[in-house]
């Protein structure tokens, strides 16, 4: 089975978010970058599927040269080779077109990624890739088992889950508990240095969405403490000040 795992290069979940250049650029100062946590689940499940029944895993990232350490980490975890599309990932449609082009050239059985990136949180790329390739896409997928060319999955829905079956090829957005995150071992880290990482140029598509300005949410005005023996006061505040009950 040929598996493509698309990974994002995103700030660690504990990062302080700030912007520079008059709020037009993300401030990378002191920020540590990681494989998107949901993408990490997708990659871990791909490694398990390969261990169980063979195949190859290609890691794909749409990003500029500074994403390569993140891509090497995916190689250390278990991808066989990697592709970097040399472009800043401006918006979901642009990224989806890059992934679809690579997928059309290489015919993967399974295209896995996280349910969403943790920077833009759109959760749209898998659906767009599926539509561009004319194949089903499902997200968020919580379990994935493959028998022959049939995939059995559970997908989270509001207040529950649905059990879904479809034939490969498929595009899936993954989330826990599809697999446990894998930590690269020393052998993986050593071998990742020499695994192939191809750099390809992007398609000529223009971005569909342009961020004009970033902004931070207004700061909270500070917490009002209510003594534990005066819960009536909390009810009063919720009713008469916040007007939410």
């Amino acid at each position: 089975m040929k598996i493509l795992v698309c990974i994002t290069h995103v700030p660690d979940t504990t990062s302080k978010i700030a912007f520079t250049e008059n709020n037009t650029k993300f401030d990378k100062t002191g920020v540590q970058y990681i494989i998107g946590p949901y993408d990490d689940y997708a990659l871990a499940r791909a490694v398990e599927l390969k261990e169980a029944s063979g195949g190859t895993i290609t890691a794909l990232n749409v990003g500029e040269a500074d994403t390569e350490p993140t891509i090497r980490k995916a190689l250390a975890i278990g991808a066989d080779d990697a592709i970097r599309v040399n472009a800043f990932p401006t918006d979901a449609l642009f990224v989806a077109k890059q992934i679809a082009k690579i997928a059309e050239e290489n015919k993967y059985d399974l295209i896995l990624m996280g349910r969403e990136s943790i920077d833009f949180n759109g959760g749209q790329v898998h659906g767009m890739v599926g539509e561009l390739l004319g194949i089903p896409s499902l997200s968020p997928v919580m379990t994935l088992d493959i028998a022959g060319t049939t995939a059995k999955m559970t997908r989270e829905i509001e207040g529950g889950k649905e059990y879904v079956e479809a034939e490969l090829p498929l595009v899936l957005g993954c989330q826990e508990p599809i697999a446990e995150w894998k930590i690269p071992n020393m052998r993986g880290i050593m071998s990742a240095r020499t695994k192939p990482l191809a750099v390809v140029e992007p398609t000529s598509d223009a971005p569909a969405v342009v961020v004009e300005k970033y902004e931070l949410p207004p700061a909270k005005s500070g917490v009002k403490m209510v003594p534990a023996d005066n819960i009536g006061e909390l009810v009063n505040l919720l009713k008469n000040e916040a007007k939410v009950i």
């Binding site: 700030p11 979940t13 504990t14 978010i17 912007f19 946590p37 979901a92 449609l93 989806a96 943790i118 833009f120 949180n121 759109g122 959760g123 749209q124 898998h126 659906g127 767009m128 599926g130 539509e131 194949i135 089903p136 896409s137 499902l138 997908r155 989270e156 509001e158 207040g159 529950g160 889950k161 649905e162 059990y163 879904v164 079956e165 479809a166 034939e167 826990e176 223009a206 569909a208 969405v209 342009v210 961020v211 004009e212 300005k213 970033y214 902004e215 931070l216 949410p217 917490v223 009002k224 403490m225 209510v226 534990a228 819960i231 009810v235 505040l237 919720l238 916040a242 939410v244 009950i245």
Partner: protein
């Protein structure tokens, strides 16, 4: 401008988040047409009209009665073209998100996700970095798809009656390749992403057997229940109640956190709530910094008292 709004039904009623989308569509485009799939209760057309739709396109084909991402996307794209709509409004959900993505490709439309506010001119504001920031997006091209978060707008109720028109979209076998074998859904409960009030419990509750008081408080407030990641990891509560960075992101008007310390990953899932109440025995719990109201003390005493006090207030 003219907006089409995808209205989702839940137990034959328009979801509240979809009514928000209708009001949003009307506010953005001046007029809104709703598209609805499957059987709906008799009073729903007037609810959708009151929210702002002047027309409802009702898809009644049996094949499309149950949610189908690919077929719904095809039908919506067809309705967009037929009606000459340039804007599609969808509320974020496990169905709305993937349908939006596919329609955006079919129509070559620019898409903005997680939209938290009405547009200002042609700039649309999206919540990014899991609620820690916003991006003001300019959408290029003639057509756009806007996926809104809960509470991006209040549901209006002053619209008129909507005309209802049956629509039978062209169906394509390729759109029926995914088989939903069965779905398991908590019934009767208020769904977490839809709820105006959420009551969440954390490890401070010590065990799943203590959730009764959380449920009582939620029931009294008409709220949904949520939990922190450790609680769902330990299987005290199901995963679909996990609120946080890697779980559900909620934006209710009131979020009540009981026995949750407020790790940054949990805050990421709740920071677009309008008001946050934190009840924790540790005065140093980081959650207090993100809260509007805080109570330091034993949850096992405070929560039942709070429930009683709210009941007394409600009469």
């Amino acid at each position: 401008m003219s907006a089409l709004v995808f209205v989702e039904l839940d137990e034959k009623k328009a979801k509240k988040s979809s009514l928000e989308a209708v009001s949003y569509g009307k506010a953005v485009a001046g007029s809104a047409t709703a598209i609805v799939f499957g059987e709906m209760d008799a009073d729903q057309a007037s609810a959708i009209g009151a929210a702002g739709a002047s027309k409802i396109i009702h898809v009644t084909d049996a094949k499309l009665a149950t949610p189908n991402i690919m077929a719904y996307a095809s039908a919506i794209a067809e309705a967009m073209n037929k009606g000459g709509h340039d804007t599609l409004i969808v509320s974020k959900s496990s169905l709305g998100d993937p349908v939006s993505a596919r329609v955006a490709i079919k129509l070559n439309a620019a898409l903005a996700a997680n939209v938290s506010d009405l547009p200002s001119g042609d700039v649309v504001k999206s919540s990014i970095y899991t609620g820690k920031a916003f991006a003001n997006n300019k959408l290029n091209g003639q057509r756009r798809v806007i996926v809104i978060k809960k509470n991006a707008i209040e549901v209006k109720t002053d619209g008129g009656a909507a005309s209802v028109e049956t629509f039978s979209p062209a169906t394509n076998d390729a759109d029926f390749k995914v088989k939903v074998i069965k779905s398991e859904k908590a019934t009767g409960d208020i769904l977490l992403p839809e709820a105006d009030i959420v009551v969440s419990g954390g490890r401070g509750l010590k065990g799943p057997e203590n959730w009764g008081m959380i449920e009582d408080l939620a029931k009294t407030l008409g709220a949904a229940t949520g939990c922190s990641k450790p609680v769902s990891d330990m299987d005290w509560r199901p995963h679909h109640e996990h609120v946080g960075q890697t779980g559900i992101k909620v934006s209710p008007t009131l979020y009540i956190a009981v026995g949750i310390s407020g790790a940054i990953q949990h805050l990421a899932g709740v920071n677009s709530s309008k008001y946050i109440v934190v009840i924790n025995k540790d005065p140093e719990a980081p959650f207090f910094k993100a809260a509007d109201y805080g109570v330091v003390g034993d949850a096992f005493e405070i929560v039942p008292k709070l429930t009683e006090a709210i009941k007394a207030e409600q009469g």
